[in-house]
Subunit: 453 residues, 2 copies
Amino acid sequence: MAETQPNETTEKEIHALHLALDEGHLGAISRIINGIPGSEAAMFLESLPGDKRYQVWELIDESCRGEVLVSLHDEVRDSLIEHLDTDELVDATRDLDLDDMADIIVDLPEEVSNELMLSMDKTSRDMLHQVLSYPEDSAGGLMNPDVLRVRTDVNVDVVLRYLRFRENIPKPIGDLFAVGRKGHYKGRVPLETLLACDPKTPIRDIVDEDAPAIMDTTHASEVAQDFEHNDWISAPVINEKNQLIGRITIDDVVDVIREEAERSVMRMAGLDEEGDMFAPIISASKRRAVWLGVNLLTVLLAAFAIGFFEDTIKKVAALAVLMPIVASMGGIAGSQTLTLMIRGMATGQVGSGNIRNLLNREVMIGVINSFVWAIILSIVIVAWYKDVEMGIVIALALVVNLIAGALAGVLVPVFLRRLSIDPAIAGGVVLTTVTDIVGYVSFLGFGTWILLG
Amino acid sequence: MAETQPNETTEKEIHALHLALDEGHLGAISRIINGIPGSEAAMFLESLPGDKRYQVWELIDESCRGEVLVSLHDEVRDSLIEHLDTDELVDATRDLDLDDMADIIVDLPEEVSNELMLSMDKTSRDMLHQVLSYPEDSAGGLMNPDVLRVRTDVNVDVVLRYLRFRENIPKPIGDLFAVGRKGHYKGRVPLETLLACDPKTPIRDIVDEDAPAIMDTTHASEVAQDFEHNDWISAPVINEKNQLIGRITIDDVVDVIREEAERSVMRMAGLDEEGDMFAPIISASKRRAVWLGVNLLTVLLAAFAIGFFEDTIKKVAALAVLMPIVASMGGIAGSQTLTLMIRGMATGQVGSGNIRNLLNREVMIGVINSFVWAIILSIVIVAWYKDVEMGIVIALALVVNLIAGALAGVLVPVFLRRLSIDPAIAGGVVLTTVTDIVGYVSFLGFGTWILLG
């Protein structure tokens, strides 16, 4: 597929595609969709309901279909695959690069993957099996096993001639990697050095033997961080025998970063698996129902806590009117602390070395803000209800809950991580449960004590 | 700085640094911190409180300091800069690449930036001014004006000889860009083609004239999306006269993607500006106070709505115990819809072409889930309070609020965007205000009608 035209944004193209689709201009759709990159075409497909997806799919050139399939979110891809027959799928995926093939082949029906395997030469098949033997989110799962290897006993001009001989150099070429006997990784040959030095220079003289490689079992997030910190375009992947088994390139890493960013936002809303905006309504409802169920349990806990104060509420109904304020403020403040902690833990910046410092800091900030807002809020409440004691109640409860929020914001993620639970998923729920219960109990408790005691 | 050792994660290194710091092993700190990439050293600095930061800064080799400064979050960098004298800053930043220099020079004190400007040759100074004339988050602001230009009337071997002559090729080399008279952009010369073809081939034969360039005014997010969709390593930047003025490389884009991802999560908690975990407590409190104040206003609105039903609560205190359940469930469900919408709008997949479809879908999901949970919840409530009418009240209110959540989840971000407000920032607050008010009013309203009517 051709590259984008300058200044034509994804949104404009997708909008144009929607218009063409509404008006049934199949020719226009075909022209536009085969002129944009595969990943943009995939995004357009994802924005359509089921039947229209299949209609548009038929308009995509066969040569582009593989790239589109690879770029689709898992869920959308699965539903599209169910709709296509074996021949269509084989034709679409036959010419994919090995790392893309590895991504997609597990999602294909058995007849299709068998045919694809048969159509490959043995070397490719073996390399594919190697990638598939790794978890998807590991270096081994991300890598392309098809990697250019150079020997250290040749000169630069031999390498350059070899590249010309190959005719088809993988994009991006990235750095080259030197190997010894038995394919042992010997170091990185930076492309810029290769091009800048005298062609008679032996590779041995320009290879960087200290350049680190990525272990095949390394998790994808760590791979991404390594790329970012080192500004790599490509990096070698080695196994425990120190053999060079593949390479990862920056475009794969960018996908990882983007997916992780998206996933973290989705998780906070309990949407981890929802890759398809137009998945069948029943399955979407089922998935969201789980999250709603979890939250229902936590809010029932809070309601149960409020239940102890039912008598108090009967006597001073105003307490019921005002109690959401304290609970809500505690949740907001606590979420700020929690968000900072989660970010810090994800980047590795927050650890046993500075937790205590952070805790003290966050509690101090909680105290300051609680005093400020307690004063402001109590003035508002006294003006509203003409009741000074009520103002004191809300002030005290707010101070308690904002400090509780700070403490929970720091300690909940630490605690969850110790239980090997991802704090990015569960942290928010646990935190708001804490701030809700503490908020309601402290407000109603102080209310009982001060107004009725 | 050397590259990371294989398998030593950022966390381990930062942990080792913290240990060394606690034990006062300055030698160990110096050894580790000068052996890791600048961006990792920056992360370590960010994880330290103020005084320790300055202590560690002194241990960083002068040659590495520039990279560290560039990698720091704005806030941390500002506070560190205040602490350093002019000479230190000039020595640290003098040898930075032009695009990094452009990022940092606006944050430096005037004496420092003046000295840096004076120490540059005129060409560099002009190029720097050009970059600075653009907004930071635009293509012009991201680019490196120092870009390799080739003419189309020479052969490949001339270009290769020129690269060797230069000795110092910018990392990453990326593709080369062809220019005509007056520096007009003529097309992209893919590196892989340059290396694979016969050296006697004229550049004219291998240049891709259709390869698009990025307009200097393009927003950084769009630049990032273009890189991702096209799997670019580098891309040319042109001005409105179609002159090649610079290039952007993937490593800069990766930073943009990472920052955007981080910012979106931070914004949802009202932490947009908080780049420094250890900023002075007072300024951190002030910033968070603003968000707390906004939320206080919205929850006061909800309390005000509850206030209309104070009599009802006096008579049936149980309503106060149970009302947070309906409000909370509506907020959770609505947030799911909102999150999907925000993601879809950010990627350009959600637009006038499919909003109606999405709305119908989300409302259907809301209806299904509301019926399911209304039934389950009313059973729980009837078991708890032995009151069938209460069960009916909560069931009705839940259905109303979950549907309201779905509607708000779709319409609020659309509405905000029409007002040019970023739905990622304000969407959550507006949505939960809607679901809180609808939740409380419907529950208490139905309660008044059914239990007291």
